[in-house]
Symmetry: C2
Subunit: 449 residues, 2 copies
Amino acid sequence: MAKQDPYRIYLTEEQIPKQWLNIRGFMKDKPDPMIHPGTGKPIVKEDLLPIFCDELAAQELDEDNKYVDIPDEVREFYKLYRPSPLCRAYNLEKALGTPAKIYYKFEGNNTSGSHKLNAAVPMAYYAKEQGLKGLTTETGAGQWGTALSIACKYYGLDLCVYMVSGSFKQKPYRKAVIETYGAKIIASPSNTTNAGRAVLAEHPDTSGSLGCAISEAVEVAVQDPSLRYVLGSVMNQVLLHQSVIGIESKTAMEQLNAYPDIIIGCAGGGSNLGGLIAPFVADKLEGKANPYIIAVEPASCPSLTRGTYAYDFGDIAKITPLVKMYTLGCEFLPSPNHAGGLRYHGMSPLVSKLYHDKLIDKAISAEQTKVFEAAKLFAQSETILPAPESSHAIYAAVQEALKCKESGEAKTILFGLTGTGYFDMTAYMDFNAGTMGDYIPTDEEIKIK
Amino acid sequence: MAKQDPYRIYLTEEQIPKQWLNIRGFMKDKPDPMIHPGTGKPIVKEDLLPIFCDELAAQELDEDNKYVDIPDEVREFYKLYRPSPLCRAYNLEKALGTPAKIYYKFEGNNTSGSHKLNAAVPMAYYAKEQGLKGLTTETGAGQWGTALSIACKYYGLDLCVYMVSGSFKQKPYRKAVIETYGAKIIASPSNTTNAGRAVLAEHPDTSGSLGCAISEAVEVAVQDPSLRYVLGSVMNQVLLHQSVIGIESKTAMEQLNAYPDIIIGCAGGGSNLGGLIAPFVADKLEGKANPYIIAVEPASCPSLTRGTYAYDFGDIAKITPLVKMYTLGCEFLPSPNHAGGLRYHGMSPLVSKLYHDKLIDKAISAEQTKVFEAAKLFAQSETILPAPESSHAIYAAVQEALKCKESGEAKTILFGLTGTGYFDMTAYMDFNAGTMGDYIPTDEEIKIK
């Protein structure tokens, strides 16, 4: 009898990747460049240096290298929570009665509760190496702020987190975690910056926005040469760092003599999806394999499925460079009742390019009540309580597995389980009580202004 | 150069124990028997059958077998989250500047957030095997209720959880998790039982107690032949199931050619401590090794360090059998401002016996402000945010490591990290704000009435 796959495969510490995979290095047709909003010219490294660490600015613009060495000190930190397990969803398969083999890469077993730590660690490391004193960032739901606070404490850096005021009040526990790791956390808009003061003067009762929090964090960073700003998604550098997810997944599957027919990731800013699919897209570009890749986004914030592929700003205040991406318009405000990590008006330019070039085969959107049905089924069968964001991928995996049940095909499905839902219980309460609604924006709302 | 220990050692699925270890089977001098409060005679299996599943009743009284087979179906469930990692605390060692080698067994990587699932799984399994319809239990802080809800959903059993009313109101997220796994959860005291109605009639505004919640859960179970009651700590059967913690720890250390000089566990009801030390106590009893074992309890609830070794009731309502244990008196009410999982007036009779017989070498108590100092140091160096309960063990491990720094001895320390603190952030907020107080009961308060 053939030996059965284990429920969970942990690679060894030595198998933590030694290099990140840079998808752009494999692409003949590169993504369109970032454009400086003042000059209208492509951004060069020097433009980024006041904001980002030198090494991260270089990584952001690196279209040539296929692989980038992971510094030993970063790998040492990764060993504290990686390799993350690749899990076989035997119980979910059974619950669905599908012949499909479902695997998921689980990134939630660390205190940040998600994959965000994979990028926070190198960002903090490069800042430390450059001799900087600290970093600034913004956080919405709080996962990114938590991840960065853990990394900054480890490397001995100061951290100042601007947290969207509404979340700041609603999620005091996230704030408590971030403070436990020694970071300063400020509700945005605040009186600590010109940007914040201007917004407060006009809207004294605002609950804030990610756009405003970005403006505040950037303002503080550019005014002090010993500080830099970091961002947890969307950017090329983030997708580069997140490639550890995909590389480990592929290695673990190789050990099982398996290769995915279908790969599924949730998509907000694109950091998890871009990381998960990295080595598989490289296989596609090199003609080695052709897995079917599906991006899943919320129906309330459908940038890939209903957005426009165009140059747009990354923030509502229009202070970032212009990037070519699928966008709902930088002034689009998604409904508040949704997975915080997927509420971005645009999509990573790299993920956008891959989708436009059909290297990502399909994008779908899902209503949150459907997503939470899948989440609950998953929790009850696989025991892990998934984050709302991750549950978008679960939803699509269930759909694909049910198609296999219909057709009798035993396809191999891999999806990314980005995190746990322990800090999202209000969403589950809403769902359990049957009071969760769905919100789908009108065409007028997603028209780029 | 000698190969360095990895940060985290994961055993393979095949290395999940096939048998639990029953410490009583190794003891020549057995613990004193449970006594029936009505007859004054030792409890026999038949006395337990109306309350507990048949197999669990047998396990409770089994003093002979050294090992008990773990059913395959239980091992299948264990594979969903076990083996748990044995971690080397390199960063904590570095932060302390100690020559000691510190290892910790981390039981928090499952949705219950703690080791509680290890006992919940077999309990639900045996109930299912007996053809029962469901289980009842009580929960204080909510960890046990969560673990049991996950296990009952997996085996298709109904579950009714009586949650202490104060916690029920304070911890809506715990309730939401339990409901997501399909269990019914009722604030205790309630109008669903005679016990609850009686308490409510006398104290309509009470915030409830564990004693009352136990009374309600037992009352419901004994009135319906298709239901049984289960308890998550204190009992012999629980310590038996929790022995997987110690067995896996010992196996992993053997792979590293290591054996602990010092073993440390937090002690509330005794489930984690008893499980962690099981194979090491067996070594002591067989004269194979003599590790130094330390139990750590809160200064606010110091049963081992300040209690009396005597027969006492397990609950405030005096409906349980009498057990010989270290106790502060069954009417003792610990201060509310503490680790919920360690607020029990007594201690597992088996742990009590081991301590009385000096097989547990030392018990210490720790004030919560000191415990949270250790918790924060641990979080910042090892990245895991520990539960308040677990942090008692961290506190003692730090003390022992500092003694090694003093003496220059490179001792090997193993402690149990029972869980994560994600649902305990109010305690961290209290600590971060500098408003956390310590409470040490007076001699009068811990006098057995």
